[in-house]
């Protein structure tokens, strides 16, 4: 089975802190994705990566950056956390565009 793991299930940070969210997949997938999930808005794509060191902006990239130095690992970075970034963050991976995405359990981030 494909496994996508995220470094933390719950995280509390202060405004202005730099925040790292880590995601690791164990199935040699080419593509990895970061979403945020908010009530009533569904999932919105922040960034995705289709290869090591490659990245593409999603629908809401502002305030975020990403890093993919190794194929299995995709990091989401909040350079200076703000309260409006309090959300559930979900990582996903897929083998290619023909295949479904597999999701991690999510990180619930609270910025105070």
């Amino acid at each position: 089975d494909v496994k996508v793991t995220q470094s933390s299930r719950y995280l509390v940070k202060r405004t202005g802190e730099k925040v790292f969210l880590e995601c690791v997949q164990d199935m040699d997938h080419e593509n990895m994705f970061w979403y945020r999930q908010d009530p009533g808005l569904g999932l919105r794509l922040i960034y995705f990566s289709y290869d090591v060191k490659m990245k593409e902006k999603g629908d809401i990239p502002e305030g975020y950056s990403v890093s993919r130095e190794k194929k299995e690992r995709f990091s989401l970075i909040l350079e200076s956390a703000s309260t409006n970034q309090t959300s559930m963050y979900l990582c996903a991976s897929s083998l290619s565009e023909l295949y479904e995405q597999y999701f991690g359990p999510g990180t619930r981030l609270t910025v105070t």
């Binding site: 996508v4 593509n31 994705f33 009533g40 808005l41 569904g42 999932l43 919105r44 794509l45 995705f48 289709y50 593409e56 999603g58 629908d59 979900l90 996903a92 565009e97 023909l98 479904e100 995405q101 597999y102 999701f103 991690g104 359990p105 999510g106």
Partner: protein, 113 residues
């Protein structure tokens, strides 16, 4: 641009009753369609997918969905629900050749005894 509409934000139903969760998408040009389920405090899990071929798609846990091109719909159905089906369900579309998934806003299915 592709969009997905789930008109029902919440669907209450009694155990063993049938259920239909509605989904409409905006563009049927070369579209892939998915239903994902999210149980409380968990990530999303694929229920079923339509890529091509038969318009009736069967998924896990007894769910099925029908691709209707003329009505641009992909409704999810189950003939008899269980308490354990209580979860949030997302309809998702993807245009072929693009990586991005387009999510509906979700429907919360509440199954009571």
């Amino acid at each position: 641009a592709q969009s997905v509409t789930q008109l029902d934000s919440q669907v209450p139903v009694f155990e063993e009753a049938p259920v239909e969760l509605r989904c409409n998408y905006s563009s049927s040009v070369s579209v892939y369609l998915f239903w994902y389920v999210q149980y409380p405090n968990q990530g999303l899990q694929l229920l079923l997918k339509y890529l091509s071929g038969s318009t009736l798609v069967k998924g896990i846990n007894g769910f099925e969905a029908e691709f209707n091109k003329s009505q641009t719909s992909f409704h999810l159905r189950k003939p008899s629900v269980h308490i354990s089906d209580t979860a949030e369900y997302f309809c998702v579309a993807k245009n072929t050749g693009f990586q991005k998934l387009v999510f509906g806003t979700g429907t919360r299915l509440l199954v009571s005894p």
